[in-house]
């Protein structure tokens, strides 16, 4: 599988470091159930793009070198003219690319896009499509590129302990939030700012009953039964995308609705951050001009 255009490493298989002793026990600062981890959002990171934004999620009890857990960068290029060969389209054509950096997760990711990244791209496109006023830009395309500089994984969690795709939910909600800020920075008309939020049904340790938590920090919980990531337009009270994964215990019929309602709370909090950031972006411009 030698990629001719990149510098490939040695021919033999390389193995990530394996430790001989278990990781140090986590200092368990309990995350408040009603709160979302602090979000740092800034626009204008890539001046040559039409719009760009950068998001970081603060991790309160981190043992590693940095105190932020999820780092995403988004650039928006467009609206630009479609190539001549493309058929006429009365709406803007949205193209999303989501890519993990090779050093983003515990397992090194390659440079070619794999299925989880394509999956995230499709969800992101669905989430944003509902917010953009597409009719204003016929025969145009816009490219939204999200680069995941660091995924939301705990540094010391053993790799084989659980199916580690629950953090993809947190990554998707971060992608939606950062893409929404970047689109607004690019000046593309939207009906509202989208924000992403996650809620999960978790068991904190082996004996406790399952409970619903918003913005789960995956490493804190013993078992995660189900999670959902929702993209929400708060002012219009509309949901543009729901991604639900897992199994709900069958007895409680309202549990699914409950989970969605709780994730809307997380979306509203994230949306406040987006609006504050965009206000900061607009205000300095007004002072200059």
């Amino acid at each position: 599988m030698a990629d001719r255009r990149r510098i490939n490493g040695p021919v033999g298989a390389t193995v990530p470091p394996v430790y001989d002793s278990p990781p140090p026990p986590k200092t368990n600062t309990e995350k408040d159930e009603e709160s979302v981890r602090k979000i740092f959002l800034q626009t204008g990171v890539t001046p040559s793009a039409s719009g760009s934004a950068y998001l970081e999620l603060v991790n309160p009890d981190s043992t590693g070198p940095s105190n932020t857990s999820l780092k995403l960068s988004c650039t928006v290029h467009g609206p630009r003219a479609l190539p001549r060969s493309a058929p006429f389209s009365p709406h803007i054509i949205l193209t999303t690319h989501v890519k993990y950096a090779p050093f983003a997760t515990k397992q090194r990711r390659g440079y070619l896009r794999d299925s989880s990244e394509r999956d995230l791209g499709v969800h992101l496109e669905t989430a944003l499509r509902g917010a953009i006023i597409a009719d204003r830009w016929p025969k145009s395309g816009v490219d939204i590129i999200v680069t995941i500089v660091e995924g939301d994984q705990d540094r010391h969690a053993p790799e084989s302990q659980r199916d580690d795709s629950w953090d993809t939910m947190n990554v998707l909600s971060g992608c939606i939030t950062v893409a929404s800020a970047a689109i607004a920075d690019a000046g593309i008309d939207c009906v509202d700012t989208v924000a992403g939020g996650v809620a999960a049904l978790v068991a904190k340790d082996a004996t406790s009953r399952p409970s619903v938590v918003i913005d789960p920090a995956i490493a804190d919980y013993h078992k995660i039964y189900a999670a959902c990531c929702v993209a929400y337009l708060p002012t219009r009270d509309e949901v543009t995308n729901i991604w639900f994964k897992g199994q709900l215990p069958g007895a409680d019929m309202m549990l699914y609705n409950n989970l969605i309602e709780r994730s809307l709370v997380a979306c509203r909090i994230a949306n406040k951050v987006v609006v504050t950031t965009l206000k900061k972006t607009i205000k300095p411009e007004e002072e200059v001009s």
Binding site: R6, P10, V45, T46, S48, Y54, S66, K99, D143
Partner: protein, 361 residues
């Protein structure tokens, strides 16, 4: 498109319509008394100040973020282990061969350093994902690769993982077996003391990601590589003979890599005034007797790079105690204007750039 007379064109419109005369007018102002400068306000030998931030990534053994103006690059260094049984052309190093020549040979032959540059992150409108690496990305990766090896920055001794049989048998491990200790005392007298052998290597994956590109990617990329390598700490590793794999220990603190020297790259683009313009006002020309006047623009941005064909890069290192400037690499391509005299002066500029980076690295 309102009809406007040529005097009322804004400078942004002028820059888009005719970029070459725009830059020329800035460098060679027709009104005497206006100071000459580049379009971004800098002097021709003035580079953008660098900002470096290290150790920001959780899952990498070393990382750095370098920002020069609007060019931002993130570098992450991860180490993975490679058993020597997996290396097809492996030859054990001869005993006592810890000198430099053997060091670089092992690094190069077994591909222990893997730098890669990713430009297709939307950092500039022409670098969108979905396409294989462009010529520029491949060129940058290869240049970083060859400079990494030729500069002798790393020592292969840091990357070797040994298997020490005498330490095994003496029960130095926490899980040492007591039965073996008696046997070993008997054995140790008759048989020659086993020397430690290299059983595995660390392979360093150095990945660079451009968040934003505004000209001069090589300088920023190289600075990020040096900063990340200086920040890298690899865990203590040993070869476990029972499990036949490399095990890392949490008990000891991670070991930083020994990085020798601080090479810094300095790139400039050569901007030529074309023949048809007047030669009389060549006061900022660097060479008095040539027909073409030209300017050396240090640390070019995207606008200037699009107008210049020739670039020259010099890699210097002044970290020796004697404060001598060591030139680790000179490369120039794209034109014939830069000669020995210009190169000499450019090395002086590169020394100044070295001082800038020394302050932040």
């Amino acid at each position: 498109m309102a009809t406007q007379t040529s005097q009322t064109l804004s400078s942004a419109v002028y820059a888009k319509l005719s970029p070459h005369p725009y830059l020329l007018a800035n460098l060679q102002p027709s009104v005497p008394g206006t100071p000459a400068s580049r379009t971004n306000g800098r002097q021709p030998t003035q580079a953008r100040p660098p900002f470096v931030n290290t150790a920001s990534l959780t899952h990498a053994h070393g990382s750095a973020v370098v920002r020069t103006g609007d060019t931002t690059v993130v570098c992450g260094v991860r180490g993975e282990t490679l058993a020597t049984s997996q290396i097809p052309n492996y030859r054990p190093p001869p005993p006592g061969a810890d000198d430099d020549t053997a060091s670089t040979a092992e690094l190069r032959e077994y591909d222990l350093l893997v730098p890669n540059i990713e430009l297709a992150t939307g950092c500039a409108p022409e670098y969108l994902p979905g396409v294989p690496p462009t010529t520029l990305a491949q060129t940058l990766s290869t240049r970083v690769y060859s400079l990494l090896h030729s500069s002798g920055l790393l020592d292969v001794q840091d990357l070797r993982i040994y298997h020490d049989p005498s330490a095994d048998e003496a029960g130095a491990e926490a899980e040492g077996d007591d039965e073996h200790m008696q046997d070993d005392d008997i054995d140790g007298v008759g048989i020659a003391i086993p020397t430690r052998e290299v059983k595995a290597y660390w392979v360093l994956y150095i990945d660079l990601l451009f968040v934003s590109l505004d000209g001069n990617p090589f300088d920023a990329a190289w600075a990020a590589v040096v900063a990340a390598l200086r920040n890298t700490k690899l865990p203590h590793a040993r070869w476990d003979a029972d499990r036949e794999m490399v095990l890392c220990s949490r008990r000891e603190a991670p070991v930083p890599l020994s990085v020798s020297g601080l090479p810094v790259a300095c790139t400039a683009a050569v901007f030529t005034a074309k023949d048809r313009l007047k030669q009389s006002q060549s006061q900022s020309s660097r060479s008095g007797d040539k027909k073409d006047s030209f300017w050396i623009l240090v640390d070019p941005d995207r606008f200037e790079e699009s107008l210049c064909d020739e670039t020259v890069t010099v890699v210097v290192d002044r970290s020796d105690k004697s404060e001598d400037t060591r030139i680790l690499g000179i490369s120039k391509s794209g034109g014939t204007i830069v000669g020995q005299e210009v190169m000499r002066r450019f090395v002086k500029v590169a020394e100044g750039r070295w001082q800038d980076f020394k302050k932040v690295l």
